[in-house]
């Protein structure tokens, strides 16, 4: 029997993954600081989109308020750091637990319903908490800083305080987080949970008739997704040294995260990373070129991109790339075989 027939396609094999990982690991040594910053953003948004994809891509429930979990993660760790001098390494876990609890509270009633209820309540909760933070200076003894947000004080690159001296530190941290998130997604997609979610997405009645509980798999996925999102929020606050309600609680952030996962391919393991590689540099370039001159162009592009993706590539770019590479590979191998003969 031909050996090649048993071989996996290149894109699903280990080699492809190792090459990709190696490229991402060594890249910061070869580029300028600005490009480094873009790479950090690419990986950061890939991480957020992977977290979004964990629940929304696999279960088909569109959350358009995922920024709220990002915000909670960032705010909790920042408040603990600034007021109580607790290291963000601990603060991020607390923030993640709070975000997870909120996600479960939202998910419990809305996952029982079919229809747009989950989407609407996710938007409502994001606006509710965003408005609350924006208009509250102090909550009891806790300072929320209202609309101005927190600017984090520099502590001189202390790693124990989640602060790195160079951009490379942040880059490897978020890259590691992304690797874990992708690994979790990969494990989930091959586990019972993943199959449950896909079954519920495809046909909830059929899934129920097979004895699948409709609520709990989605709750579990939601909890993990919110947890990851909140960890991303802490990274966001620590990296940008600023956190405010107009960025992390804003619907633009939610939509951006969703868009990246959709462009890449929802419900695929590497889709969000691909989406981020495509979308983030374009948006950064547009923001750098046109900020201050033409307001709104950046978001206009998002809108048009979203419409085009939904219209022409409902399964995302990922599918097309995989198909293209597979075809190329088949062509390559068939060419080599015929040469041997």
């Amino acid at each position: 029997m031909d050996k090649n027939l048993n071989k996996r396609p290149f894109l699903q094999g280990k080699l492809c993954f190792l090459i990709l990982a190696a490229v991402l690991i060594i890249i910061p040594f070869f580029v300028r600081t600005f490009i480094q910053a873009v790479f950090i953003l690419i990986v950061f948004y890939a991480f957020c989109a992977t977290a979004w994809n964990f629940i929304c891509g696999y279960s088909g429930e569109m959350s358009l308020g995922h920024a709220v979990y990002l915000g909670i993660g960032g705010y909790v760790s920042t408040i603990l750091l600034e007021q109580y001098n607790v290291t963000p390494w601990l603060g991020m876990l607390l923030g993640a637990l709070i975000a997870t609890a909120l996600g479960v509270i939202i998910g419990l009633p809305t996952f029982r319903l079919s229809g747009p209820y989950f989407t609407l309540s996710s938007i409502a909760i994001c606006q509710l908490i965003g408005t609350f933070v924006k208009n509250t200076e102090h909550l009891g003894t806790i300072r929320l800083a209202g609309g101005s947000g927190f600017s984090l004080t520099a502590r001189g690159g202390d790693i124990a305080m989640y602060e790195f001296a160079s951009k490379n530190g942040y880059y490897y941290l978020i890259l590691g987080m992304l690797a874990i998130a992708i690994f979790l997604t990969w494990v989930m997609s091959r586990s019972k949970l993943g199959y449950y979610l896909v079954a519920i997405r495809s046909d909830s009645d059929a899934a129920q008739s097979l004895g699948i509980n409709l609520t709990w798999p989605r709750i579990a996925a939601m909890a993990i997704s919110c947890f990851m999102m909140a960890l991303g929020g802490t990274f966001y606050a620590q990296y940008f040294r600023y956190i405010g309600p107009d960025t992390v609680f804003h619907e633009n952030m939610s939509t951006q995260v969703a868009l990246i996962a959709l462009v890449g391919g929802q419900g695929t393991v590497l889709g969000p990373l691909l989406g981020s590689v495509i979308v983030t540099p374009i948006s950064q370039f547009l923001a750098a070129q046109f900020s201050g001159k033409v307001s709104g162009l950046n978001l206009l592009m998002y809108g048009i991109a979203l419409m085009l993706v939904v219209f022409f590539m409902p399964k995302g770019v990922c599918e097309y790339i995989v198909r293209g590479v597979n075809r190329f590979e088949a062509w390559l191998f068939s060419g080599m075989k015929s040469k041997k003969k």
């Binding site: 009633p109 209820y117 709104g296 162009l297 206009l300 998002y302 809108g303 991109a305 979203l306 939904v310």
Partner: protein
């Protein structure tokens, strides 16, 4: 007059405006069964059309409606007929709120909002029309309200009444109801499903053109208008029950009441949050909405 009673009156009037915006969305939601996130930006776009008419030709928005309502009906019909129909056909298996249509309307919302932001900048615009500058005074001048608000309140019931009449009492309405109940069965009976969807979508957008005209008569307009009213009108529709026109009115009045009466006790932003909280609580306790019987 007592402050609370005044707040109730103001709340009802504000609620009328909310209901007016939500009614159009309610028709789209109830018939086509899609979550139309572009509703808020259609509202915003219409207000800017009125602004162009007003600033260039001094045409009062109430008069401008004669042009904008048919225009918006056609635009709504075309959006449904040429864009959303394609997506719906692709997702034939799912009858209720296919997510790709929802994402498409979000994209449309982003595009429209930022297009108008680029063209008209984020500057606030006001109309200095008769209804904007004149006030209704009642009860020894203790109750003062712009005429624009009062007219919007009246328009709410007028538009809702017309839509209710069309849907429940006419031949066209019979077709619309048939399609909303089961589009395959309606198609078997000889109803052209997609043009009926188009007409229903057109009614929804035409209703938002009326809402936009009423809004310009008392509100400051800016490209962010869609975000302010779009999400709220969604919550109102869900609060009242998907596809129920009386439900949309009740939901709108409740939102207006909460915001105005709540503002007597806490700050007005807290009152807005209170209305979101009420929405979430209703969603958890009675997700089918306030005015919809469970059997439906």
């Amino acid at each position: 007059m007592n402050n609370i009673l005044l707040a109730v009156l103001h709340g009802l009037i504000l609620g009328g405006t909310y209901a007016l915006i939500a009614v159009g969305l309610c028709v789209i939601f109830g018939v086509v069964r899609i979550v139309n996130f572009s509703h808020g930006s259609m509202l915003m776009a219409a207000t800017y059309i009125y602004w162009v008419f007003y600033s260039n030709y001094q045409i009062d928005p109430y008069l401008g409606m004669l042009v904008v309502i048919p225009l918006w009906f056609i635009i709504g019909f075309c959006i449904q007929r040429f864009l959303i129909r394609t997506l719906l056909l692709r997702e034939r298996a799912e009858v209720i709120s296919p997510s790709s249509v929802m994402l498409f309307t979000i994209g449309l919302n982003f595009t429209l909002t930022n297009l108008f932001l680029m063209i008209f900048t984020s500057q606030f615009r006001t109309f200095s029309t008769w209804a904007y500058n004149n006030y209704l005074r009642l009860f020894n001048e203790s109750f003062v309200s712009q005429w624009g608000r009062i007219i919007a309140f009246g328009c709410c019931f007028l538009v809702a009444g017309i839509l209710w009449f069309i849907i429940n009492k006419t031949e066209l309405g019979k077709r619309i109801r048939a399609v909303s109940q089961n589009r395959d069965a309606a198609a078997i009976c000889g109803v052209n499903v997609h043009s009926t969807y188009g007409i229903a979508f057109g009614f929804g957008t035409a209703a938002v053109a009326v809402a936009a005209a009423c809004l310009t008569e008392f509100y400051i307009i800016s490209p962010n208008l869609g975000a302010t009213f779009g999400t709220k009108s969604f919550m109102i529709v869900v609060l009242g029950g998907l596809g129920s026109i009386p439900g949309a009115i009740v939901g709108g009045l409740i939102f207006g009441l909460i915001e105005q009466v709540g503002a007597q006790f806490v700050t007005s932003t807290m009152a807005t949050m209170l209305s979101f909280a009420v929405f979430l609580i209703v969603l958890i306790i009675k997700p089918s909405g306030l005015l919809v019987k469970k059997g439906r």
